[in-house]
Point group: C2
Chain length 331, copies 2
Amino acid sequence: MADSTFGLVVHGGAGVILRQDLTLELEAEYHTQLEASLAAGYGVLEHGGASLEAVVAAIKVMEDSPLFNAGHGAVMNAEGVCELDASIMDGLTLDAGAVAGLQHIRNPIALARDVLERTPHVMLIGDGAEAFARQVGYEFVPNEYFQTERRRRQLALARELEAKPGGHRPAGRKERVTFATVDDNKFGTVGCAALDRKGNLAAGTSTGGMTNKQYGRVGDSPIIGAGTYARNATCALSATGHGEFFIRSVLGHNVSALMEYKGLPLAEAAGEALRQLEELGGTGGLVAIDRLGHVAMPFNTPGMYRGCRVAGQAPVVEIFGAEYRAQTIRS
Amino acid sequence: MADSTFGLVVHGGAGVILRQDLTLELEAEYHTQLEASLAAGYGVLEHGGASLEAVVAAIKVMEDSPLFNAGHGAVMNAEGVCELDASIMDGLTLDAGAVAGLQHIRNPIALARDVLERTPHVMLIGDGAEAFARQVGYEFVPNEYFQTERRRRQLALARELEAKPGGHRPAGRKERVTFATVDDNKFGTVGCAALDRKGNLAAGTSTGGMTNKQYGRVGDSPIIGAGTYARNATCALSATGHGEFFIRSVLGHNVSALMEYKGLPLAEAAGEALRQLEELGGTGGLVAIDRLGHVAMPFNTPGMYRGCRVAGQAPVVEIFGAEYRAQTIRS
């Protein structure tokens, strides 16, 4: 399988992302960052590096950018603190690493990878995850490193909406959740799926979760089989959106199972899994790549920050989705 | 679907459970507790109660018993603290609740159910999960409530083994994990899957994890799609074993996908999913029930505490598995 095709696909979140809400300048910045993320991952793959390595490289770029809801620039929870989750999976070995509830680790995706490679475990949470980080020599950053003025304003807005009649959230029924809890309806999780020259797939996801989320809430990003999944026989993918629905529909493994057990090609499997998610009421999207280098980037929201670069093809970076409904199999 | 068949299946963990290691008295106690768990769940179903209710009732009995690794009698982590995880899923709505890293909640399965019913979230971890418990009026118990003399001895033994040359664990490669970390090779997670008279399926799982586990380590029990899964169209199931492998193989959803997408009957799907888990190197088992009341209880370890009771059939409670290999599709 040496020197077969290779490539990667990235996302920076899906949601109500409308052209009229973005200045041309901000739109250009998103393009620049998505291109930088693709370039970082592609560089690894081009030089024969492993897909796992490319996934970490691509995601780190987005974690370090204030534009995305991961690492620096992550959204704040109801206590005004950034809590970070990430996961990564190796499609060759089906080995995986995940972390949740981090408050002091600059690049959560790097720690997820160290959980994969340096512990017998898959998932470490909270103080325990940070104790492991300390043990393997991570530098700790203050929580303020992640916090930005933009996210502070979003939290203030979410709290304001929550205080309005009918907008109160704690311990209410699920129906009572307000959009104030979902990052003013824009999600910004980041992720990457990659295929390397050896034919190995890998995927990873990193997030700050939802603005004003309940302290301790974990979404789909650190859940193997939900927000992240990779399997050489089928595909590698990373999801973004309203995480609870992605957990309940086990979206990542569902795409893979639709390919493996029903024989669907990647694009159809991804579309069908998204349709099932939509049936539950879920919104969001995913990026995926299969072992032949086919790419899928379906979403059922107005926009998704996304891009892909496959060897021999022009790189693609897109934000809006005029035909976003047509990208699911609903068309 | 009113007054169709109904029933439930429970487990109290799988592992190296050998007849020669159990006194007749202890064996009888396990039988008594498994029967009590079945009776509690069956009582709910018989009176027309919901499968979700039956799952909670059956699991609470095992959480309250010191015999099992859940609630009172949970194993201790490397710091000598009991950390509890649980999850539950409703096969009708695909709604789910999960908690991880609890230290003061008597019945984790009850809190998982409250996350399902009373929050917009699926998963809450650590202090955040306990803050939610406080908010909805849970009584807090000291961590000592969960700790038993038997588990203290197991922890001491695990630490002793770890201190031996070659047995050192922290930050080592996955290959270096010793059996000292896996409850001296006996797992004791508890779980239940149930079918009610309305044809609705539900499943739940509760655990203390692994003896001497790294602080913050989360296994498959609170992961929807791994240790717990329920879907009216296919089956409900709860898994037990070396959790990392169950997460990596997304075991719960895999059984369901094999039924839905490949058309396999429950027993074959459960066997095939277990075979795939075994290929990764995983050991353990699962209990499952489908919407027709068919039950499967496969495992690839010498024993699994298990039982089932389906309307119109004699209740079954078993521990050992002379023919345990034959119960997977390897036979």
